[in-house]
Amino acid sequence: MNPLVALEIPWGLLLVIKVMVILAIIPAAALILGYVFLMKMMSHMQSRFGPMDPGGFHGWFQLIGDGIKFIQKEDIMPAEADRRIFALAPAIVLISTFVVYAVIPIGPRLVAEDLDVGIFFALAISSVSVIGVLMAGWASSNKYALLGALRAAGQLIAYELPLVLAVVGVVMQAGTMSLQGIVGAQASGEIFGWGGIGNPFLLTQAVGFVLFLAAAQAELTQTPFDMPVAESELVAGYQVEYTGFRFLFFQMSEYATAFALAAIAATLFLGGWHVPGVEGTAADVLGPLVLFAKIMAISFLIFWVRFTYPRFREDQLQMLAWKYLIPISLLNILATGIFKVAF
């Protein structure tokens, strides 16, 4: 039973609280990833410091300052733009990110909505953002934006299948689609009869983990799959006509989605919020911290690849997805099924 209900908070207020919390998490997540990885890790990989002055300590204020700058900027709309769709597109992208956060558990009792089809819901909703991208590209009435948007649409089919198929192995092993259920299955699992740390699915679903990360990279339009944005070719793809707070929306949702997908990967493969030997309220306090550490570890992988790799071509991504990722994930499902029946 939900503890907040036990405190007799009316459901309306409860809903408001949940919405406010998620609304606070999204910019916070975007800021953390943007600062730690985009500004600092990338800078150090490229033998430079990145921002050092704003805020005093290693330029921590830089991104917040950037955000304030974006809000102050003039809202420019191309004369030929489809005005309503142009304005709506960034919101749709951000909303899809927002809803994903609703099903991610960060503690035994800390989850906005524990759906029975949690993982299914999260993956379905997260691909809605492509509609926003398509709308943005189409409504901008810019050829570069249009090319970027069409690439995003083409990419959707290529990476969505391996993303879902990679998760199927986990769902089969856990026997549930609820994210809390998957965490529970990993917590109560055993490694060859030893239940000290549970059984993170990373051990049995390592192939699925790699496939999931590769497909997530494509979903996030990060290098090597950043063809929809492609700074050196399409300049910024579908974002090319956006300025000010609408551009901020795109940027924020990009990093917030990276955070959400890393959270899903941590939940599916690394045991989520579960800390061995910690139960009850203590788990509600420790759980989010542990999950956060796991998210940062996975984000590190995502961004490491992003800053190192060159970009694929669109047709090469299709080839990679259909010739390699999808067959491997199907084999992974088959192997999981055999083991599930055998043991």
Partner: protein
């Protein structure tokens, strides 16, 4: 049914079918302007491409956005002033630009720079070659989508630019050549420092080799992309590393009229049979190393002596003509200088490498995808100042 009606029906029937086919297959090609302000065009090159989906149907480079009229301006300048201007043609390897012009003027005057000056000129030319190619190696990564190499490139190039600055006083525009020699001798400690930096250049080349060639994606993005066959390349006047990447074993430093200290240097001319973007990258990578080797070799046997020949205080070049072409980092660069005995040239024709290198674009860009177009532009490696002059 009358005859005419029958024929009419047959006519309509035939054309209706055609019309339907046309409705299904007909679609508008999209015309996309790449440039003049686009990150892949290194300045203000504009490529107008006709796209069928993402496939390029036709491409037309539009040049001239940065035309500065140097060939005309130099007619109103005295010889020492001209070097300042021609520094800015290929601004990444300015020192190498000065050499052929000075050489042409010296030929007309019938003087020759002393051996030490020739050696130092060669060393500085090779240093500009290294500086230019390191930028290329980083830029090649950036254009295929990797963000990191370009930062390494600018970091490592700085060591070389520091050397050029220490010797000449100018990072980018040295203006160091004088008719009959050089402005100054090398500063003390420069040779030791250069040897150290050449070690860094080798390291830097290894880094790029690891970072780019070590990545599968770089291979699939560059191999077989933008193939220029040797005869087509020659026909369009492509020169330098671009032509050597098509398997043509031709280098003016070795095969042209002898200039600077090159006849006394033993170096390898790298070629690659591929002719694609990868070969062009690979040839330049090897040439960067070769240039560092040439520098080390020359420093070992740098002759002593003056760096300036005896020239009159006010330089008047006697009437005459001279055509000098040399192997610059971007390719073949030539100056045709006509003098009528005044303090400035009467007419100068500049043959710059990039101008001829981009003339192949309409041919090589036909049928490629938009991302490949960017790769090809990057691998041909042109400098806008060198196209437009």
């Amino acid at each position: 049914m009358s005859m005419t009606e029958e024929r009419q029906r047959a006519y309509i029937g035939k054309h209706l079918a055609e019309a339907q086919i046309n409705v299904e297959l007909h679609h508008e090609d999209m015309v996309l302007n790449i440039g003049p302000q686009h990150p892949a065009t290194h300045g203000t090159l504009r490529v107008v491409v006709k796209l069928d989906g993402e496939r390029v149907v036709a491409a037309d480079p539009v040049i001239g956005y940065m035309h500065r009229g140097y060939e005309k301006i130099v007619e109103y300048r005295s010889y020492p002033q001209v070097t300042t201007l021609i520094n800015r043609i290929d601004w990444l390897s300015s020192f190498a630009n000065e050499v052929p012009f000075i050489h042409a003027a010296e030929q007309i005057m019938g003087i020759e720079a002393p051996p030490r000056a020739q050696y130092i000129r060669t060393v500085l030319t090779e240093l500009s070659r290294i500086a230019t190619f390191i930028v290329f190696l980083g830029d090649m990564g950036a254009q295929v989508g990797a963000v990191t190499p370009v930062f390494y490139a600018f970091r490592d190039r700085e060591h070389v630019l520091n050397l050029i600055e220490a010797a000449t006083g100018g990072r980018f525009h040295p203006n160091f050549n004088r008719i009959g020699g050089l402005k100054d001798d090398l500063p003390s400690g420069w040779i030791t420092e250069t040897r150290r930096v050449m070690g860094k250049v080798f390291e830097s080349c290894d880094t790029f080799e690891n970072l780019l060639q070590g990545n599968e994606i770089f291979h699939v993005r560059t191999k077989g992309i933008g193939i220029i066959p040797a005869d087509i390349g020659k026909g369009y006047g492509v020169s330098g590393s671009n032509l050597r990447a098509s398997g043509v074993d031709w280098d003016l430093r070795r095969d042209g009229a002898p200039y600077l200290a090159y006849p006394e240097v033993d170096f390898k001319v790298w070629t690659h049979p591929g002719g694609d973007s990868f070969s062009r990258y690979w040839v330049r990578l090897q040439e960067t190393r070769e240039a560092a080797r040439i520098v080390l070799d020359l420093l070992d046997r740098l002759p002593a002596g003056p760096v300036m020949a005896k020239v009159p205080r006010i330089i008047k070049v006697p009437a005459g003509e001279s055509w000098v072409r040399v192997e610059n980092p971007l390719g073949e660069m030539g100056y045709y200088v006509i003098s009528k005995g005044a303090t400035g040239p009467f007419r100068v024709k500049i043959r710059s490498a990039s101008f001829s290198n981009v003339s192949i674009l309409p041919w090589v860009l036909k049928g490629v995808y938009v991302p490949d177009l960017i790769t090809i532009l990057a691998s041909l490696y042109f400098i806008l100042g060198d196209i437009d002059r």
